[in-house]
Amino acid sequence: MKQIVTLLCLAFFVSVPMWLTDPYLLNALITTGIFIIGAMSLNLLLGFTGQLSLGHIAFFGIGAYVSALTSLGFDVPIHGDFHIVHVPWPPIVGFFLAIVISGFCGYLVGRLSFSVRGAYFVIVTISFAEVVRLVALNWVELTQGPLALTNIPSITIGLPGLGYLVLKTKFHNYYLVLAVAAISYFLISRLVHSHYGRAMRGLMENETLAVAVGINVTKTLTLAAVISAGIAGAAGSLYAHYIRIIDPDVFAFISTVTMVIMVVSGGKGSLAGPVVGGVIFGLLPVFLRPIMPPEAQWITYGVVLIVILFVMPRGIVPSLAAKLGLARAGGTRRASIAVSERTVEEHA
């Protein structure tokens, strides 16, 4: 049943460019899709391990810069006459490098920041993202600072026997983003249904208990952080090669907030949540734009977030699923864990 719904949704998304001709809407869908990939990666941390990372945009931005710099090349003086020179590589290499380097950053940040929890974890992650933004702003030799990296080439795919396909048009980019989104969705779905996924949820529900039954906390959380950061890096790379110009504003805190809103409104800990929340909040500006000025759009954005948290604190997908009785099995399992947790607390 669930798989049929997923496949139907995928078929719908595949069909969109066939009947949607408005380039403005298609552009909105592509950028929304890129942010949905980011939101899915954030959901892996927030929804399945319970760690709210508000620095997630750092991995997105690192992916964007790595990919852009790989395909543009650079010449950076390090000390005196010593330069690091890099000649441009094909953008597709940049895409994979973005995943690897973002994932590695996720590993480093995870190792450092998982020693603290709750509000402190949130603040460490925000700080990390801001430091990266300030480096991108001030290391002008490498990043051009506020002048931005421009003329980033589009991703090119070599097809055996058919030459090269340059993914330059919106039509091409839509399918590229959709493909990466589908792969990420599949990957995250496999991960959370695996042994590691159960360990992650065990940690989220009751860390003390999880440790007591032998779950390696640091290893599990770091694995989630690495995969999450890698996917965010892939999204950043797609963004860089689609928009073709990036400046330190890709690290803006508001972009992390956008991803968090997508995850929380859709339903954290639900695979479809970030997709549903992402479509709603990604396309909301498109519908609000004709009827109100930008400031009022943002006010609406904030108010909608508050209203969703008040009315549906668990998010749209879990609330709907509970109403339709689809998540009966998942619901009872969660309830029993919650009960056991409460008993543990009472005995403690």
Binding site: L52, L112, S113, S115, V116, R117, G118, A119, Y120, V122, I123, V124, I126, S127, F128, E130, V131, L134, V135, L137, N138, F253, I254, V257, V260, I261, V264, P293, E295, A296, Q297, W298, I299, Y301, G302, V303, V304, L305, I306, L309, F310, P313
Partner: protein, 290 residues
């Protein structure tokens, strides 16, 4: 050496207002366990109140400061009653996200009402700075330092000498026991949020005339306040004051001797370092953190 002395003087001026921001946030964060993202917007609000009173109402500069503090108190109380009171008992992530929503909505509101152009506030002090030996400091900054010091002393006395302060400290230590002893915990939460907000507004009102006023000015202030709270330890007033001065010193030295572009990175680096090596803060009692 002269340069260092100048940095120390600048540090004192900046540190006073940072301490105000930090005290406000450490009270809210420590007592209510709310990661308050509206703290920065209250700072912005205080600065705009100053602008409105001085330029649009044409009233006295020194009258504007108390007006900004009272306005910040009222706005803080309103936020607490409408947004946080219904969410008592909700987990920290939920209240944090609600605060983020409020922050986005209010900042956009400020942008809508007052526009994005930075405004400067006139002050009645002479333009020529006070020069003592190798060090010079403007009269306005000197006023900011003394006003901040006065407000720190007031806040300190409020928390340590009054009955309300005693109830606040009791709620911080154990809200259940405090409630059993007859403390109206809900009222304490509202007062705490209102007092913390008024201190943020005061910091904004004091630094507004020194720099310029614009809707996003509070974003960095909020993160700096978090750095100060982490440095000083959760709920620790003295720690927040010392933390404010340490952050100001780090920024001054970072801007003076490393690169002015990295001035604002100092707060974040402090946060990362403290949380990695001494997560309880430099002056905190270890058992309350977690």
């Amino acid at each position: 050496m002269d340069q260092l002395l100048q940095h120390v003087v600048n540090m004192l001026v900046l540190g006073g207002t940072y301490a105000l921001l930090g005290i406000g946030l450490t009270l809210i964060f420590g007592i209510m366990n709310v990661v308050n993202f509206t703290h920065g917007i209250l700072y912005t609000f205080g600065a705009y109140m100053m602008f409105i009173v001085v330029h649009q109402l044409g009233l006295n500069f020194f009258l504007a400061l108390p007006v900004a503090i009272v306005a910040g108190w009222l706005l803080g109380a309103a936020i607490e009653i409408t947004l946080l009171r219904p969410l008592r008992g909700a987990d920290i992530d939920t209240t944090m996200l609600v605060m983020i929503g409020a922050w986005i909505a209010m900042q956009s509101g400020a942008l809508w009402i007052w526009g994005g152009v930075a405004k400067s506030i006139d002050n009645p002090f002479p333009d020529a700075p006070l020069v003592i030996g190798p060090v010079s400091v403007s009269w306005l900054r000197l006023f900011v330092l003394f006003a901040a010091a006065l407000l720190i002393v007031l806040a300190y006395s409020l928390i340590n000498l009054t009955k309300l302060g005693k109830a606040m400290r009791a709620t911080f230590q154990d809200s259940d026991t405090a409630a059993l002893m007859g403390v109206n915990v809900s009222l304490i939460y509202t007062s705490t949020f209102a007092i913390g907000s008024s201190l943020a507004a005061a910091a904004g009102a004091l630094l507004g005339p020194v720099y310029v006023v614009f809707p996003q000015m509070g974003d960095l202030a909020a993160v700096k306040a978090f750095a100060i709270v982490i440095l000083g330890g959760l709920g620790n007033i003295t720690g927040a004051v010392i933390g404010g001065f340490i952050l100001a010193l780090a920024e001054e030295l970072g801007a003076g001797y490393v690169s002015s572009g990295y001035r604002d990175a100092m707060g974040f680096l402090i946060i990362i370092m403290v949380l990695i090596f001494k997560p309880t803060g430099l002056f905190a009692r270890a058992e309350r953190v977690g």
